[in-house]
C-alpha cells in the first residue's frame, strides 16, 4: 500500500517543525507535504505553479489547513478546494490557533471536515496530532475519488 500523503498548510516554520515533531513522536511515517502559504497549497493540489507537472494522482489523504496564511488564506484555500472536483472530497482538517466562533462556522460552512484548535501546550498538541494522524490515516476511509489516484 502506497504511503498516504498529508498536506500540511502552515506558514509558521515553528508550527511546521512542531507538527512534524509531533508526527515523529507518534511514529506517523506518512509523507508530509508542507505548503507555506495558500498559493503553494493550491499549486500542490492542482498541480500548478511550483508544483506544475506533479503527479496529480497523488492526492493527499488529508489536508491540515491553517487559516491565517500569507497570500491566500486558509478559508480561500478551503473554498477553492471545495469548488474543484478533484479536491472537493479531500478531507480537510482545519488546524488553527483561532478559537473564534466565526472561523469555526465559516470553516464548517465551507466544507471543513474537522476543526481543531492548536493547543499551546506541546504535550496536548502532540496528542492532538497523534489522534489526527490515527484517525485520518488509519481509521478514516477516504472518499473513492481520492482513492482513484491510488490506481
Amino acid at each position: 500500500m502506497k504511503e498516504k500523503t498529508i498536506l500540511l498548510v502552515e506558514d509558521n516554520p515553528d508550527d511546521v517543525e512542531l507538527t512534524l515533531l509531533a508526527f515523529r513522536k507518534n511514529d506517523i511515517s506518512s509523507k508530509v507535504v508542507v505548503a507555506n502559504d495558500g498559493v503553494e497549497a493550491l499549486d500542490y493540489l492542482f498541480g500548478s505553479g511550483i508544483h506544475a507537472g506533479r503527479d496529480m494522482n497523488d492526492l493527499p489523504a488529508v489536508v491540515l489547513l491553517d487559516l491565517k496564511l500569507p497570500k491566500i488564506d486558509g478559508m480561500e484555500v478551503l473554498a477553492r478546494m471545495r469548488e474543484e472536483e478533484i479536491t472537493r472530497v479531500i478531507p480537510v482538517v482545519v488546524l488553527t490557533s483561532s478559537s473564534e466562533e466565526r472561523d469555526m462556522m465559516e470553516s464548517y460552512e465551507l466544507g471543513a471536515n474537522s476543526y481543531i484548535r492548536k493547543p499551546v501546550d506541546f504535550n496536548r498538541f502532540t496528542e492532538a496530532v497523534k489522534l489526527i494522524g490515527l484517525y485520518w490515516l488509519h481509521w478514516n476511509e477516504p472518499p473513492p475519488l481520492a482513492r482513484k489516484g491510488e490506481n
Binding site: 509558521n12 515553528d14 490557533s97 499551546v120 501546550d121 506541546f122 504535550n123 498538541f125
Partner: protein, 877 residues
C-alpha cells in the same frame, strides 16, 4: 295652598225636609187634620145630637106615658067614686052631705087634689070639698074643664089655670061625667089638681145635665118646667109656637133658637100625652150637647194635635237626623278633606318639583301669585312676600323671556303648555327651568316648574368640556399635520375664536430677546396689522407702558375688556385694524413663565369668565401643541444630525470593532503561535535534550513551559471577555434556577470530591440572553466554588429578593470572603484578591460577569467580609 276657595259640597235635603217645605207640609197636614177633625167632629156631633135628641124624645114619650098613667089612675079613681052607689044616690038625691063625704074620700085618696067638686049637668056647682061657699051654686059651663068634659061627656083634663089664691103652682082640673046606670049624665065630678105634685113625679125622671123638661097644656102654657119655674102667672112655653101643629102622635124633635139667650141654639123634643093634649117638651141646648161632647172633641182635637205633632215632630226629627247625618258626613268629609288637604299640603310643600298657582289679573295683563311651594320658591329664589304679588312684580324681565306669553296663552286657550328648558335671567336670579303650565277649572294658572339649573350647568360644563376636549384634540390633531409652529398657532387661533365666539384674534410669543412677535393672526385681510419682526421692538416697548394687550403679558393675567374705549391703558389701534368692541387676552405660560399671549376680540355679547376659563384651558394645550411642534421640528433637525452622528460613530465603531476583531484574531493566532513555539520547543528540549542540561537548566525550561501555559489561559480569558462584549444579544425568558442547577451539576461532576450544600431558589425566570447569563452564572459559581474550597461545610446559595420594588439576584457563599474596601476593584479585568497560589485564576471572571450584567442594563456588586463569605448581587434591567 293658601286662600283656596272653599267649594266643598253641600249635600241637599230631601225636598220634604226643606225648612220651607216642612212648614208647607205641616200647614197642609194641619189643615187636613183640622178638616178631618172638624168633619169627624160634625159627623160625630150630628150622630150624638141625634142620639141625644132620640133620648130626649124617649124621655118625652116616657114622661107622657107617666102622665097619662097618672091621669088614667086619677080618672079611674074618680070614675070609681062616681059609680059608687052612695055617690049615685047622693047625686040623684042631691044629698050634699053624702056627696061631700064621697068627695072627701076622693080627695083623701088623691092626695094631690086641691079640691073636689060636683056640678050638675049644666055646670052649676052644688057641692064641693073642702066646702067653698063662694063658688056654691056658681055655674062653670064657661070654663074649659066643663067645656072639655061636656063636649062628649068624656073625662077631661083641663088647660092650666092660675090658682085663685095666687099660689105658686098653677092648677089643672080633671073632670069626669057622673052617669047613672042607664048612662044618663047627672053631673060632673071635678077635682083640682095641683101641678106641683105632678112636677114632683116628673122631676123624678132622670135627665141629662143641660136638658130641661117642660110640660105644657093644650095651649102651650107651662104646667111644669125643670128650667123655668112657673110663677103665679101662667106663662107660655117659649118654643111652643115653633113646633108643628097639630101635634102629632108620638114624638118629634126640632132645633130652635132661643133669642132671649143670645140666639143660642137649642133642640126641643116633644111628645103629647094621649087624649089629654098636654105636651112634654125636653129641651137641650146645643151648648149642652157640645159640653157633653166636649171630651170627645177634646180627644179628637188632642188626637189631631197629637197626630199633627207626631207628623211635625217626625218631619223635624227626620230633618234633624238627616241634617245630623249630613253634618256628620260633612264633618267626616270635612275631616277627610282636611286630611286630604293636609296630605296634599305636605305633598305640595315637600315635593321636589316647584308648583306655583297664579290668578290672572287685568284680563291676563299680569298674573298674581296665589301660592307657591318651597321647591317653587327655591326655583324662583323667592322666599318672602310673594303672595299677592304679580309675575311682573317679582320677575321684572319676565316679559322678555317668552315665559309670559306662555302664561297668557294658557290663560286664554285653557290648553296646557309645556315650555322646555329655558334660561331665565334678570338682576336677581339666573336659572334654568322647565315648566308645565295649565289652567285649572277655577281659571287659576298652575305652573309646575323644575329647576334644572344644576343639570344644565353640569350639561353646559360637560358640553363646554367636551367642546374644549374636542378643540384640544383638534389642536393636537392639526398640530400633527402642521408643517410648522405657525400653522399650529393658526389652528389654535381658529379653535380659540370658535370656542369664544370671536371675530378675530392673534397669538404672539415673546422672542428670546424679550420682544413680542405675532405668530398667527386670524384674518388674512389685515396683513397690515401684522407686526414685522423688525417692528416688534417698538411694539413691546409700547406695550410695556400702555396698551390693552400689553397688560396681559406684563401683569401675567387673563384680561377681559368689554368696553375697550374706556379702558385706561388703551393705546389705540394700528392703521387698518378693525375696531375692537370686546377683548379677551390670556397669557401663554410655559413652566409658570409667560411666553406669549393669545387674544381674541369682538364676541358680540362681550366676554364672560366662562370664555376666559375656556381660553385659559385651551392656552395650556396651545402652548403644549406649539411647543410640541417646535420641539418636533427641533427633534427632526436633531434627528437628522443625530443620524449623521450615529452613522459617523457607527462607522468609527465598526472600524474599531473591526480592529478589535482583528486584534482578537491576532491575539488568538499571533500571540498563541509564538507561545506554542516556546512551549513546544521548551518541551522538546526537555524531552530530547534533558541529558544535556543540568537541573537548574531543566528547572528554568520547566518554568518557561509553565509560563506559556498560564499565558495560554490568559489569552483564552481575554478572548472570552471580548466575546462577551461583541456577541449578539438575544433576549428570551431564561430560567436562571435551572441554569444554576445545571452548572452546579457540571461542577460537581468535574470535582466529585467536593461536598457543597447548594441552595437554589426555584422559578427565577428573567428576560435575558441565555448564553450570556449562563456565562455570568458560571463565573459567579466558579468564584463561589473556588473560594469555598477550603470550607469543610461549603454552602452556596442562589436566590432573589425584592427590595424597594427592585429584584435582586444573589449568589452567596460561606467562603473566605474579602475585604470590602476593595470591592470596587473587584470587577476590573485582571484584578485578583488572592494569590494564584491560594486560588488560581486570571481575574477576568468577574469582569466578564460585570460586562454581561451591564449588557443587560443591570448592576452587579459584592458584599462580604474576610472569613465570612461573600455575596454577589446583580440586577437586570
Amino acid at each position: 295652598m293658601k286662600n283656596r276657595p272653599d267649594n266643598r259640597h253641600v249635600p241637599s235635603l230631601p225636598w220634604f225636609l226643606e225648612q220651607r217645605n216642612i212648614i208647607i207640609i205641616s200647614l197642609s197636614v194641619l189643615l187636613i187634620i183640622s178638616a178631618a177633625t172638624v168633619f169627624q167632629y160634625y159627623g160625630h156631633d150630628r150622630k150624638a145630637t141625634e142620639q141625644f135628641l132620640r133620648k130626649d124624645r124617649n124621655a118625652a114619650v116616657m114622661t107622657s106615658l107617666i102622665l097619662e098613667e097618672r091621669f088614667q089612675m086619677i080618672i079611674k079613681t074618680m070614675e070609681s067614686y062616681g059609680n059608687r052607689l052612695r055617690m049615685m044616690e047622693a047625686v040623684a038625691n042631691r044629698n050634699e052631705k053624702k056627696a061631700r063625704e064621697q068627695l072627701a074620700g076622693l080627695k083623701k085618696e088623691l092626695d094631690d087634689a086641691e079640691s073636689a067638686a060636683i056640678t050638675d049637668r049644666q055646670g052649676t056647682l052644688w057641692v064641693g070639698y073642702p066646702p067653698a061657699p063662694e063658688v056654691q051654686g056658681k055655674n062653670f059651663n064657661r070654663r074649659d074643664w066643663y067645656k072639655g068634659v061636656s063636649r062628649k061627656w068624656k073625662p077631661y083634663v083641663s088647660e092650666v089655670m092660675p090658682t085663685a089664691n095666687g099660689e105658686k103652682n098653677p092648677l089643672v082640673v080633671v073632670s069626669v061625667p057622673l052617669t047613672d046606670n042607664q048612662g044618663g049624665v047627672h053631673g060632673v065630678l071635678a077635682i083640682i089638681l095641683r101641678t106641683a105634685r105632678l112636677g114632683e113625679t116628673i122631676g123624678r125622671i132622670p135627665l141629662d145635665p143641660g136638658s130641661f123638661l117642660s110640660v105644657t097644656d093644650q095651649k102651650g102654657r107651662l104646667i111644669y118646667s125643670s128650667r123655668r119655674n112657673p110663677g103665679k102667672e101662667i106663662i107660655p112655653y117659649p118654643f111652643y109656637f115653633m113646633i108643628d101643629k097639630p101635634i102629632p102622635e108620638g114624638s118629634q124633635s126640632v132645633a130652635v133658637f132661643e133669642h132671649s139667650l143670645d140666639g143660642r141654639k137649642n133642640y126641643v123634643s116633644y111628645a103629647t100625652v094621649a087624649d089629654k093634649g098636654w105636651i112634654i117638651f125636653i129641651e137641650r141646648s146645643r151648648r149642652a150637647i157640645f159640653l157633653e161632647e166636649r171630651t170627645h172633641l177634646i180627644q179628637l182635637a188632642a188626637i189631631s194635635i197629637l197626630l199633627f205633632l207626631v207628623i211635625f215632630a217626625s218631619l223635624l226629627y227626620f230633618r234633624k237626623r238627616v241634617l245630623t247625618q249630613q253634618v256628620r258626613e260633612q264633618l267626616q268629609t270635612h275631616e277627610e278633606l282636611q286630611a286630604s288637604e293636609m296630605r296634599f299640603k305636605e305633598l305640595f310643600d315637600n315635593m321636589s318639583t316647584g308648583v306655583a298657582i297664579f290668578r290672572a289679573v287685568n284680563d291676563g295683563e299680569d298674573f298674581e301669585i296665589i301660592d307657591m311651594n318651597e321647591a317653587g320658591q327655591k326655583c324662583a329664589r323667592l322666599y318672602t312676600d310673594f303672595i299677592g304679588k304679580t309675575l311682573c312684580d317679582v320677575f321684572p324681565m319676565v316679559k322678555e323671556t317668552g315665559i309670559f306669553e306662555f302664561f297668557q296663552e294658557v290663560w286664554k286657550t285653557g290648553r296646557p303648555v309645556y315650555h322646555p328648558t329655558i334660561f331665565y335671567h334678570d338682576g336677581r336670579l339666573s336659572v334654568w327651568t322647565e315648566s308645565h303650565l295649565y289652567k285649572m277649572p277655577s281659571g287659576e294658572i298652575v305652573d309646575i316648574v323644575n329647576d334644572v339649573t344644576e343639570r344644565m350647568k353640569t350639561e353646559e360644563m360637560i358640553f363646554r368640556q367636551g367642546r374644549l376636549l374636542t378643540a384640544i384634540n383638534s389642536v393636537f390633531y392639526e398640530a400633527l399635520m402642521a408643517s410648522g409652529e405657525e400653522d399650529v398657532a393658526k389652528t389654535c387661533l381658529d379653535v380659540a375664536q370658535d370656542i369664544t365666539g370671536s371675530k378675530f384674534g392673534m397669538i404672539g410669543e415673546i422672542t428670546p430677546d424679550g420682544l413680542f412677535s405675532t405668530t398667527a393672526m386670524s384674518d388674512p385681510g389685515w396683513e397690515a396689522c401684522r407686526i414685522p419682526e423688525m417692528q416688534a421692538v417698538r411694539m413691546i416697548m409700547d406695550m410695556t407702558i400702555r396698551g390693552i394687550w400689553g397688560q396681559v403679558i406684563l401683569q401675567d393675567r387673563p384680561l377681559i375688556v368689554n368696553d375697550p374705549a374706556s379702558y385706561p391703558d388703551r393705546v389705540g389701534l394700528p392703521e387698518g385694524h378693525p375696531p375692537i368692541a370686546s377683548f379677551l387676552g390670556v397669557p401663554l405660560r410655559e413652566r409658570d413663565k409667560v411666553v406669549g399671549m393669545i387674544a381674541v376680540a369682538n364676541n358680540e355679547s362681550g366676554y364672560t369668565e366662562d370664555h376666559q376659563h375656556d381660553l385659559e384651558a385651551l392656552s395650556v394645550a396651545f402652548v403644549e401643541a406649539m411647543r410640541r411642534k417646535s420641539a418636533e421640528i427641533k427633534l427632526q433637525r436633531m434627528n437628522v444630525e443625530l443620524d449623521q452622528q450615529v452613522s459617523q460613530r457607527t462607522a468609527l465603531l465598526t472600524a474599531a470593532n473591526r480592529e478589535l476583531e482583528a486584534f482578537s484574531y491576532s491575539v488568538s493566532h499571533d500571540l498563541r503561535a509564538p507561545l506554542r513555539s516556546i512551549n513546544g520547543f521548551s518541551r522538546a528540549v526537555l524531552d530530547e535534550y534533558a541529558d544535556k542540561l543540568d537541573e537548574a537548566g531543566k528547572s528554568y525550561l520547566e518554568r518557561i513551559h509553565k509560563a506559556t501555559q498560564r499565558m495560554d489561559v490568559l489569552i483564552d480569558d481575554l478572548l472570552n471577555l471580548s466575546k462577551v462584549t461583541r456577541s449578539e444579544f438575544q433576549s428570551d425568558a431564561v430560567d436562571l434556577s435551572r441554569i444554576f442547577r445545571a452548572l452546579l451539576k457540571d461542577r460537581q461532576k468535574n470535582d466529585p470530591d467536593r461536598v457543597v450544600d447548594a441552595i437554589v431558589a426555584d422559578g427565577i425566570v428573567v428576560q435575558a440572553d441565555t448564553r450570556l447569563m449562563r456565562i455570568a452564572l458560571d463565573n459567579l459559581l466558579e468564584n463561589a466554588w473556588k473560594f469555598t474550597s477550603r470550607e469543610a461545610l461549603a454552602r452556596i446559595e442562589f436566590g432573589s429578593e425584592v427590595n424597594d420594588g427592585r429584584v435582586f439576584y444573589f449568589i452567596r457563599d460561606n467562603g473566605v470572603g474579602f475585604n470590602e474596601t476593595y470591592s470596587g476593584k473587584m470587577f476590573g479585568a485582571f484584578q485578583r484578591f488572592h494569590s494564584a497560589a491560594d486560588f488560581p485564576g486570571t481575574g477576568i471572571g468577574l469582569a466578564i460577569v460585570q460586562r454581561i450584567i451591564h449588557r443587560h442594563g443591570g448592576h452587579v456588586w459584592a458584599e462580604g467580609e474576610v472569613g465570612k463569605g461573600a455575596t454577589f448581587y446583580f440586577t437586570l434591567a
